[in-house]
Symmetry: C2
Amino acid sequence: MADHYDSYRGKRVLITGGAGFVGSNLAHRLVALGAGVLVVDSLVDDYGGNLFNLSGVDDQVRVNIADVRDQHGMNYLVRGQDIIFNLAGQVSHIDSMRDPHTDLDINCRAQLSLLEACRRNNPEVKVVYASTTQIYGKALSLPVTEAMIRHPIDVNGINTMAGEEYHTVYSNVYGMRAGSIRLTRTYGPRMLVRHNRQTALGWFVRQAIDDEQIQVFDGTQKRDYTYIDDVVEAFLIAGESEAINGRVFNLGGTRPVALLELIDTLTRVAGSGSYTVVPFPEERRRIDIGDFYTDYSLISSTLGWRPTVELEDGLRQTVEYYHKFKAHYW
Amino acid sequence: MADHYDSYRGKRVLITGGAGFVGSNLAHRLVALGAGVLVVDSLVDDYGGNLFNLSGVDDQVRVNIADVRDQHGMNYLVRGQDIIFNLAGQVSHIDSMRDPHTDLDINCRAQLSLLEACRRNNPEVKVVYASTTQIYGKALSLPVTEAMIRHPIDVNGINTMAGEEYHTVYSNVYGMRAGSIRLTRTYGPRMLVRHNRQTALGWFVRQAIDDEQIQVFDGTQKRDYTYIDDVVEAFLIAGESEAINGRVFNLGGTRPVALLELIDTLTRVAGSGSYTVVPFPEERRRIDIGDFYTDYSLISSTLGWRPTVELEDGLRQTVEYYHKFKAHYW
């Protein structure tokens, strides 16, 4: 633990979506660093919020069940906070096409509400927004830098792009201390594995552990996968940096990995599961982006962050977690 | 009138925002071309909808007062249409910062509702969305091409960018015939001159005609101004082109014009009004973008469009219109 994390001791930190995958892992780290953590989560069915994710720190975090779409509730909850890690979101691409209005409410309207709540009730608060590299759409060149033009390929990408831009504009126009980091495909303990609409990777983990045959669509597509501990580290660094205000930074993985290598490694470390390559279903092909991995040199040079956990190590820790706590996630 | 506009004869055309500046001018042209025009407009106070704009074609267009935010109404209204010119919007940058949620409802939610209405009730319809070059934010290089990264500088720009991207995604994912054109600063008869929150230019026209002293902020900033007839032409070309589906095209002006030249020309052709240069008010400086003009070569090479009306001619026609019909606009 680096010295500069001492700055979290005694800090009041709000995590929206704090019972979800990334939020709960962040909550565990913040408790260890001595922060006072308030988790806000609506526990919407299927979105990934799971109170078991907070198991072990239950008595050290304050959990407030609330929906970030509720402007009145947020007006109250943001008061007195030093830092807000803004992670609440609907992240299923499939769901965003089936119900675009709900995606809009959560990923656009709620972001505006949160920023308005801060502007009016706590204008000095630090806000770090969890955006995603999926807002770029297809890669026009590889690796993808922050200077690449964004053309999201689904409603979720569009709305997340808007949510991110609100943070930039509120920083530039109102001088708020808000900025964004763009997550790649993040994996690790506490990720949602209950259904396959949020991340394919979570579903693969479940299938491997259940000793099922995994269907791989194509398999040659290269992506970057970031282990959860590296993502948590990025949030911690961003939360104490003034250099992120009004800006956005790509995260990335240690190296681009082909889907087939991912599945092969996963089934090997799990010691169960198999795989077969199948053609792309039409619904998914239309919103697939092919090869995609980022250039994360901007956050490296600005904030000193880089991914450190190799795929095999990350997958091993992930599988171990679910072997142990399967009952709470299946 | 080019031959290919014969294709509009007998066509059923819906114009959202059809009582507004661009929509009403488009309605006049479409009636002259023999189209059956349905105007949908909510006549929200201050947004620019004005039934006098349809004076002269009142008995030839069908006017349906409705809000594009009303999903049920739109489900019905889109049926049986051949082409939808989708122009309804909140376009005041100042208002978008004062009331970001209303801007979101109109520029994001209503666009999703319209596209969903079409997808479910009229999937073959052609949709042309009126976007704006203001979604780019500051110009990183001049002239601005469609390949330039967009970082809107206010909530209105973010939401309009999302509205545009929905059209692209619905075209790419569902095969809908939807595309967008990005308007620059458009001027001409029937523009809103009642207040100064929507366009500075409309307000300048009013001040010149009222023989007032115009306050020019800075004055050296170069912009592109497109005369309304050129914009209407772009919509007519786009409405009959399959090449716009899933794509976006910049419009532009005949040449970049410094603000001081604009004001000088305006007061000269009006024969009234004067001007003085003043410092930027803080609220506006923060959302000002400096020099900004586009490269419109993509729409020129793809659709054969180019601006033809020079500033002085356009301003003269604008001033003549308001001299004549001032009572309906002041």
